[in-house]
């Protein structure tokens, strides 16, 4: 019961201390990504929320005023590292509380397992990060187009063959193709811009 209550209050306290628009934006932008990632890595919903808080706290400590220093490399890579280590730390802590110390592997076992697990975790982070950008870009692009165009594209996105879509909307396959191309180009440009903003130091 007590543990349940600490979560929102902790977050609130953190927010109160650094009431900064940048942080709020960060939370809005990355909350979904971090939670999704933790869930895919096998964390339960409550654990994922805990990890998110841990990540926020660590970032605040490491990046006062959320000024990211580009010399550390790409922000997404850095964030991925923080998220992964937070997840591991969190899971270790909770497993130690519940089951006692984990059995000791030999050095070699650990290395093999860790390498594989690390590569896997990185790949999933990359996937989720890409997914996040796709979703945001798609949202932006949807708002730029007329509803009909959006509807046509939604059908294509749902996997309907182009000629079916054309028939359904009473247009030509060429027109559907054109829409597809345009949206593709806009998505690419939008994602490019998003990443530019993300990588800009001190954003």
């Amino acid at each position: 019961m007590g543990a349940q209550e600490t979560r929102p209050s902790l977050l609130r306290r953190v927010r109160d201390q650094h009431d900064d628009a940048a942080w709020r934006e960060f939370d809005a932008r990355y909350r979904g990504l971090i939670l999704r990632y933790c869930r895919r890595m096998g964390a339960r919903p409550g654990d994922a929320e805990d990890v998110l808080q841990l990540v926020l706290m660590r970032l605040m400590k490491a990046l006062p005023g959320f000024r990211y220093d580009a010399s550390r490399g790409r922000f997404r890579t850095y964030l991925g590292q923080v998220v992964r280590s937070s997840l591991v730390d969190h899971l270790r802590r909770s497993s130690q509380q519940s089951m006692g110390a984990a059995p000791i592997d030999t050095e070699r076992w650990r290395r093999i397992a860790d390498d594989a697990a690390q590569a896997e975790a990185e790949a999933i982070w990359q996937q989720e990060w890409m997914g996040e950008h796709y979703r945001r870009a798609l949202e932006t692009v949807r708002q730029r187009h007329r509803p009909l165009t959006v509807d046509i594209f939604e059908r294509v996105l749902a996997g309907e063959p182009v000629d079916h879509v054309a028939k359904r909307f009473g247009t030509t396959a060429a027109a559907v193709h054109k829409i597809k191309q345009r949206i593709r180009d806009q998505l690419s440009a939008t994602i490019g811009e998003q990443i530019e903003v993300e990588d800009r130091p001190g954003a």
Partner: protein, 1006 residues
């Protein structure tokens, strides 16, 4: 090896396409110009709708698929790490198929997709009742999709225990035999499965196993990072051979599939995986690598001891201890079902002996140990696998043999030098006794007698006993043929014999055996399956063709062999290394030394991978690379390679092994080039001794040694001996390689060079004839721009120079220099000599022009009068320039200061400087010679230069310096062991000069 133009077409090379691919990395940060674009990995630039797939996955809109290409999707069957399988109908034919869409990202680059397509094409060609047919392949929405024959079957693991109750063992064995049939069939067609597991082996309602997914499994190490569901990964792991976990795709061969079948059988028999690991990936990897597997009988009822043995042998951690083919495994399963004795036996005596040999290989300096153990091994193996003897007899005989071998080994390790002759005799005695014994025991067992002879022949040839080896191997080959042995066995016998004959320089005999082996392959039921063997035969044939002069066919064969090997990622590294070495010989033959070196470096790396750091084959590859370095004018590189090669030989091969002789030969020539005559002599003598004694004095490698000896004799002034050696080498080569553009010209050049030193018109004319013959052979065989043409050109030019034909001489030396500079941009000794000679020819022309101006003036009036005076200006500019270029090259190639060629060039240079009036320059050149004189030397060239130096110093009034040199000279001349009349005369003159100087000095001092 002959060193030697380059086919311009690049060799197809597996590494090229990857290297040439733009790496998929995206640029850092935004693009400087134009609108932003998403990084590459988002897939917007990829062909097809890759981006749409990504987007779909991101928004979570799983597409409702009802149609994929030409297939109507009827429903989803399964979803796994590799992809999704649908049940679908081909709208064209109405046939029901299994449609497999590979997981997105499994093959992402065009290269990967192409490779995948290639493999699928290969697999699709497999028509076998036990292999699920591939109906089609396409990229649907940019995702690789395969249509497979629809099978109503269940995974073999489920089929094995319907309702939790295991089927009878014999029923399982029947399925296992059929599974082996199918997999072996694929192997024969060059397709490995690499990912055999119960879910890939479906048993249909008639009880027949059908194998799915041939050729599409990616190497495990790639999958390891790609798989997200670790349960599935552990599932794959349980059937993966240890070498699959350790190494990349190259580490995997048919034996990995043998292992997997063993694992599947284990599971079918016991209902559990060989490595039962509950959670941890690390546990699973470790268990597989350790290869600790329970006997199936420990977990399953009714599993016999023999069946345990078969499964454990199939799953041995060391691939070398497994069945070497799926066919062999099938054979044992078949024998077991038929109640015959199986061939597998628990790893006992022979394995332990082999281990012992590998541990003590370094100790077996003479190789005799290898002989004993090799024979013992064959005997023990033969005894143990004998179907005729009863088990008890087998064990007893094997134990007895093992014991005597062990006893002998202990004796050797106690410090007895195995290299001693007596020891050798006793070893041969042991071999003989073993042979008799086996012939006695296995009177009716012809294959074993042949086996024994093969091993014996192999070891004997390793020991350099080539004649004996060839004899024994021919016996083995004839036995095999007479017995109507299997194709593989007869093939092996032919190839072994061919190699021995090749070593013996019996090229015709070797070629006959290689061709016979090729015919065997051609007559095989399935010639395609032996692509690697054929490639290996072809490259050996290419080498023989090269040696016997048919270069065009040699090129063709070698290139085809390499192309076949490069096109197949599973080509064995040792075979590829061999093909690269052959290509190197051909490149060298055509004069492209850099391309040859490149091939050889790859061959060395491949040999290292294939054989480890301590193996005769590696030593041979290093030796060839050293030869190439020497030919390229890189003596230091050559030396360091030779040091490693020699160390390997020292530890593994007999002292008189031919390879050691060849290494001595190249060392000798390196010393010779560096002017180190003593070590050169020692090495060349050892090489000569080994090659003449062991190889019967009729091998190509002897030619190089003979040339070295000619040069050595010449350098030490023994012209008679040099001529004798040169005539001998010419005779040897005329007999063996009358059309060879390499060997014979070398001998012709050597002899001509010696003859040119001789006095008299006869010798000169013969020399010219030999040079011309050599040049003609080389120009015809190698092309006029080949570096080898420098030598006879230089010789002809020198003859012209000595005969006073200066126009011809300058023109020919000019050609030599130009050719040398073109062929050896970094400088070469032969260019240096040509430059020195060119300088002399120019000098003589200048002298001639000055001495006989009338000749030239006749046509051109006015010049004649001008040059009438005594001091006609002599223009030595071109001559001096050539001398300076020569000396600069001597520095560039780091020619020793005391090297005779540097010394004579400096000497002549000083004389021309003196003539040109540059006294200081002249003195400086002479001082360089004197300073280079090795302590204790009494060589004429140094004495002469010192005498001239002193004389000029006297003229210049530098008496004190002159006196110092004259004193040194006097001492040297007196100390000379053999004082010829010329020496005595010189001493008298020196003493006179000293006296005159002293006299002039005395009154001045008073």
């Amino acid at each position: 090896m002959p060193d030697g133009p380059v086919p311009d077409s690049p060799v197809p090379d597996g590494t090229m396409p990857d290297g040439a691919m733009p790496d998929g990395a995206m640029p850092d940060g935004p693009m400087p110009d134009g609108p932003s674009r998403a990084p590459r990995e988002f897939g917007f630039e990829d062909p097809g709708d890759v981006w749409l797939q990504h987007l779909r996955a991101a928004v979570g809109a799983a597409a409702p698929i009802d149609r994929l290409g030409d297939y109507e999707v009827l429903g989803e069957v399964s979803r796994g790490g590799q992809g999704i399988v649908y049940r679908a109908r081909d709208v064209r034919s109405g046939e029901i198929v299994a449609l497999k869409r590979l997981r997105h990202g499994t093959y992402s680059t065009p290269t990967e997709i192409e490779r995948f397509q290639r493999e699928v094409t290969l697999a699709a060609a497999l028509e076998h009742p036990g292999i699920v047919g591939v109906r089609g392949f396409e990229l649907a929405d940019g995702q690789p999709t395969m249509a497979l024959e629809w099978i109503d079957g269940e995974p073999v693991s489920a089929w094995a225990r319907p309702g939790g109750q295991r089927r009878p063992v014999d029923e399982l064995l029947a399925v296992a035999v059929q599974l082996c049939d199918a997999v072996h069939f694929a192997h024969q067609h060059g397709v490995l499965h690499r990912d055999l597991k119960p879910s890939n082996v479906l048993v249909d309602p008639t009880g027949a196993p059908r194998v799915v997914d041939f050729g599409i499994a990616k190497p495990l190490d790639v999958d390891r990072t790609g798989l997200t569901a670790s349960d599935e990964f552990v599932g794959t792991l349980a059937y993966a051979a240890p070498e699959q976990l350790r190494g990349g795709p190259l580490a995997v061969d048919v034996r990995a599939d043998v292992y997997a079948i063993g694992a599947i059988l284990f599971e079918a028999l016991t209902g559990r995986r060989p490595h039962e690991v509950a959670h941890s990936l690390a546990d699973a990897v470790d268990a597989v690598e350790q290869g600790k597997i329970d006997r199936p009988s420990a977990h399953g009822q009714g599993v016999s001891f023999e069946l345990d043995t078969i499964v454990l042998k199939a799953m041995a951690a060391d691939p070398g201890l497994r069945y070497q083919s799926v066919d062999a495994l099938r054979e044992d399963l078949r024998r077991l079902r038929g109640g015959e004795p199986i061939l597998a036996h628990p790893p006992s005596t022979w394995y332990q002996i082999r281990k012992l040999v590998s541990r003590h290989r370094g100790v077996c300096a003479s190789g005799l140990m290898v002989l004993v153990l090799g024979v013992a091994l064959t005997v023990v193996t033969a005894v143990q696998s004998s179907a005729v003897l009863r088990a008890q007899e087998r064990e007893a005989l094997a134990a007895e043999l093992a014991q005597s071998v062990a006893g002998y080994m202990h004796e050797l390790f106690r410090g007895i030098s195995p290299a001693q002759a007596g020891e050798a005799a006793s070893v041969l005695g042991i071999v003989e006794r073993a042979t008799e014994r086996i012939d006695l025991h296995f009177d009716r067992e012809q294959p074993m007698r042949a086996d024994l002879r093969s091993t014996l022949g192999h070891v004997l040839s390793d020991l350099g006993q080539l004649d004996l080896a060839a004899r024994v191997l021919r016996e083995a080959q004839e036995l095999r043929e007479a017995q109507g042995s299997s194709l593989a066995t007869r093939l092996a016998a032919r190839l072994q014999l061919a190699a021995a004959l090749d070593d013996l320089s019996d090229y015709r005999g070797a070629a006959t055996q290689y061709r016979a082996a090729r015919d065997l392959l051609a007559a095989a039921e399935d010639p395609k399956a032996h692509a690697f063997v054929r490639a290996d035969i072809d490259r050996h044939l290419a080498e023989i063709l090269l040696l016997t002069g048919d270069v065009a066919t040699a090129d063709e064969r070698a290139e085809a062999a390499l192309a076949v090997l490069l096109a197949r990622p599973d080509a064995p590294r040792e075979v590829l290394a061999g093909a690269r070495r052959t290509m190197a010989r051909l490149y060298a033959h055509h004069g492209d030394l850099d391309a040859a070196a490149d091939q050889l470096r790859r061959a060395v790396a491949l040999s290292r991978e294939a054989y480890g750091d301590l193996h005769p084959v590696l030593a041979e590859a290093l030796f060839e690379l050293a030869q190439s370095a020497r030919s390229r004018g890189e003596p230091e590189e050559a030396k360091s390679l030779l040091v490693e090669a020699e160390e390997i030989c020292r530890r593994l091969l007999a002292d008189d092994h031919p390879l050691r002789g060849r290494i001595h030969g190249i060392w000798g020539r390196l010393h010779l080039a560096a002017g180190e005559l003593e070590p050169a002599k020692e090495r060349l003598d050892r090489a000569h001794d080994i090659l003449v004694r062991v190889r019967g004095g009729r091998h190509e490698s002897l030619a190089a040694v003979l040339s070295g000896r000619v040069q050595l004799a010449w350098r030490t002034g023994d012209v008679d001996r040099a001529e004798q050696v040169a005539r001998e080498s010419l005779r040897i080569l005329e007999e063996n390689a009358p059309d060879d553009p390499w060997l014979l010209p070398a001998a012709l050049n050597n002899l001509a060079t010696v003859l040119a030193k001789r006095q008299g018109e006869t010798a000169r004319a013969e020399a010219e004839q030999h040079y011309r013959a050599a040049l003609a052979l080389q120009e015809r065989g190698l092309g006029p721009d080949h570096p080898r043409c420098i030598h006879p050109l230089n010789g002809l030019a020198t003859l012209a120079l000595n005969a006073g034909d200066l126009d011809t001489a300058t023109s020919l030396f000019g050609r030599c220099v130009a050719l040398g500079e073109r062929c050896f941009p970094r400088g070469h000794w032969s260019t240096l000599v040509a430059l020195g000679n060119l300088a002399i020819a120019h000098r003589d022309r200048a002298n001639l022009a000055a001495a006989a101006p009338g000749d030239e003036a006749q046509g051109d009036g006015p010049q004649g009068d001008e040059a009438q005076g005594d001091e006609a200006p002599r223009d030595y500019t071109t001559s001096l320039e050539a001398f300076r270029r020569a000396l600069a090259m001597a520095d560039a190639i780091e020619l020793a200061a005391a090297h005779p060629d540097r010394v004579w060039i400096l000497h002549e240079y000083s004389a021309v400087l003196d003539e040109a009036g540059d006294v200081e320059g002249c003195l400086a050149a002479l001082r360089r010679i004197v300073a280079a004189e090795p302590a204790g030397s009494t060589a004429d060239r140094f004495l002469r230069s010192r005498y001239i130096l002193a004389s000029i110093l006297i003229e210049q009034g530098r008496s004190e310096q002159a006196l110092g040199h004259l004193d040194t000279l006097a001492t040297q001349l007196r100390d000379r062991p053999e004082q010829g009349p010329a020496g005595a005369k010189m001493l008298a003159r020196v003493e006179t000069k000293i006296a005159a100087l002293r006299q002039a000095e005395t009154p001045a001092a008073k």
